[in-house]
């Protein structure tokens, strides 16, 4: 039976573990503007990334956006997931497909659409002007708000489906039992549904947080040139700056930050669940 894992394991190894190992090695190399990458064994790239206020800001922005988006998706996704989970089975499959539908539109295409909607000459500003609500164009595009809304919209289906799967496993009779024992609807939610959904909140948050930390197209297109998150910054170093060692170091900082926060977050949630 163990052999069944082999093809997948092989694929993951060659396409993930091996390149990551290479990248780790590269991040320790020295960069020279004339010779580009020079074989070395130095921590200078990490030190620079951590010490440079600019990259500190990029990491802080990334963490802030990812955190906000995760919270937003939980708040928006929970009611939708509950509704989906408690739906009758014949309509549920249709609703599930509708939930997945936004994922059929790629990030770049979607962001381009958002640009058309949010731009100074875009749909929203045109409407506001037509209704004489504003005199000049409202700056909507190229703002952190646009990025947060954009990323949230992209990752929301992941949260809804993850949560719905867990909520579905909570027997409806448990809710009925609570009501029968004297709990109002809000108490049933607070004392029964929410605590039993926490594993789903944890799983969904981990998934969404990782996706947000690594968002690329949305911050690039909706955030504009001044707004930087980690994934575009890594890309810049590799492609525009040709500074592979520094890019690799940034990539690893992103990876480790994501990993550490994910582990801490899910541990906190699961402890809450047990208690």
């Amino acid at each position: 039976m163990a052999a069944l894992v082999l093809p997948a394991a092989l694929l993951v190894f060659t396409l993930l573990v091996a390149p990551m190992a290479l990248l780790a090695r590269i991040s320790l190399n020295h960069y020279s503007p004339t010779e580009l990458m020079v074989e070395a064994f130095t921590a200078e790239n990490y030190i620079r990334a951590v010490a440079d206020p600019y990259y500190q800001q990029v990491l802080a922005t990334t963490l802030g956006v990812a955190f906000l988006c995760t919270v937003l998706t939980v708040l928006l996704g929970f009611p939708a997931a509950y509704w989906l989970a408690r739906m009758e089975s014949n309509r549920k499959s249709i609703a599930t497909i509708l939930t997945l539908l936004p994922l059929l539109v790629g990030n770049v295409v979607r962001s381009a659409g958002w640009m058309a909607l949010l731009g100074n000459e875009g749909g929203i500003n045109a409407a506001l002007r037509a209704l004489h609500l504003t005199s000049g164009p409202l700056q909507l595009l190229y703002t952190p708000g646009a990025v947060i809304v954009g990323i949230t919209a992209v990752v929301l289906p992941y949260m809804v489906l993850t949560l719905a799967a867990v909520i579905e496993s909570i027997p409806r009779q448990a809710e009925e039992a609570a009501a029968n024992l004297g709990a109002t609807a809000s108490t049933v939610f607070r004392r029964v549904v929410l605590p039993l959904s926490l594993p789903g909140v944890a799983a969904g948050s981990v998934l969404v947080f990782i996706l947000c930390m690594n968002a690329y197209a949305t911050p690039l297109l909706l955030g504009g040139p001044q707004f930087k998150m980690m994934a575009p910054a890594v890309y810049d170093q590799f492609v525009r700056g040709n500074n592979w060692p520094f890019g690799a170091a940034l990539a690893f900082i992103l990876l480790v930050a994501t990993l550490v926060l994910t582990v801490i977050g899910s541990m906190a949630l699961s402890r809450r669940y047990r208690g």
Partner: protein
Amino acid sequence: MSTLVLDRLRKRYDRTTAVERVDLTAKQGELVALLGPSGCGKTTTLRMVAGFIAPTDGRVLIGDRDVTQVPVHLRNTGMVFQAYALFQHMTVAQNVAFGLEMRRVERAEREKRVAEALRLVRLDHLADRMPRQLSGGQQQRVALARALVVNPAVFLLDEPLSNLDAKLRAEVRMEIRALQQRLGLTTLIVTHDQEEALTMADRLVVMERGRVRQIGTPEELYENPADVFVASFVGNCNLVAGTLERPGSFRTQSGTLLPCTSEAPAANDGLVLALRPERVTVTPGEGAPGDIRAQVTAVTYLGAQTEYHLDLNGTTLRASRSTPLHDDPLRRIAPGEKLTLSWDAASARLLPAETETGDET
């Protein structure tokens, strides 16, 4: 604790009628079982009492209070669900304490009553376990304690034993009945198991396709079933179609005459003779002239009981009795042999034949 009255309770869905009309008064401390095959409306009725389903017509009264419009959480019923529905994230004690918390019972009092309730179901030693660490029977008892601890006005049980294995079922059945009697709880229990209903209930409500077929004590239902459905659903019963030849004699469709002195219902065309298999006495041999004779078609050994499948010139009957001893000639009766039958002519009941079409809704 109070009486429970269902007054012309009815539930219609778009096209179907789940419950046609239920009238029932359960006295203080009485255990009433709603019995019927799946889809007969018994669970819908129970859920209307609990408040999970709003009736289309009719009223639910607990004590003297009309609770038809009262939301679930204010009805003060204690319900035990089929799958227990324990709160998986709470300990046994927390589960039991939940209803008391909702009633804002003070902590000290709460702890006292939780301990009492757990002692009542003999689970006080497992108070700090999580539900998933318990066996099915133990989970069932937690559910009982959780529903009882709040002193419900009415105790509701929805197929409480169907998830337990046969041996445990008999045990828990006795336990529920003892608890219910000790606490004097007015109780409504839903079950599809006639044995469960007969052994536990003071009175039974037999339902079929949303209608109440008969309400009565176990004995009334068994001895005097109102119709063919009740006769066949409660216990085993021979049902033979035919007509009343003359008072005291029933002619089956194949022409055999059977003794029967019970009164015929109004419509004489199309009758069914209902005769419990254990009321039929079988004796080996041809018997005297005028005796009822039958040929054995099969003998089913059930341990304590033995069942004889009999043919009376085209009319089939079943007789059952405690398995005869080794030296009894009946013990060696085999298919093909002849037996003589007899029964008390008064214990054969006459019922109107079922008309399958008359189900206008």
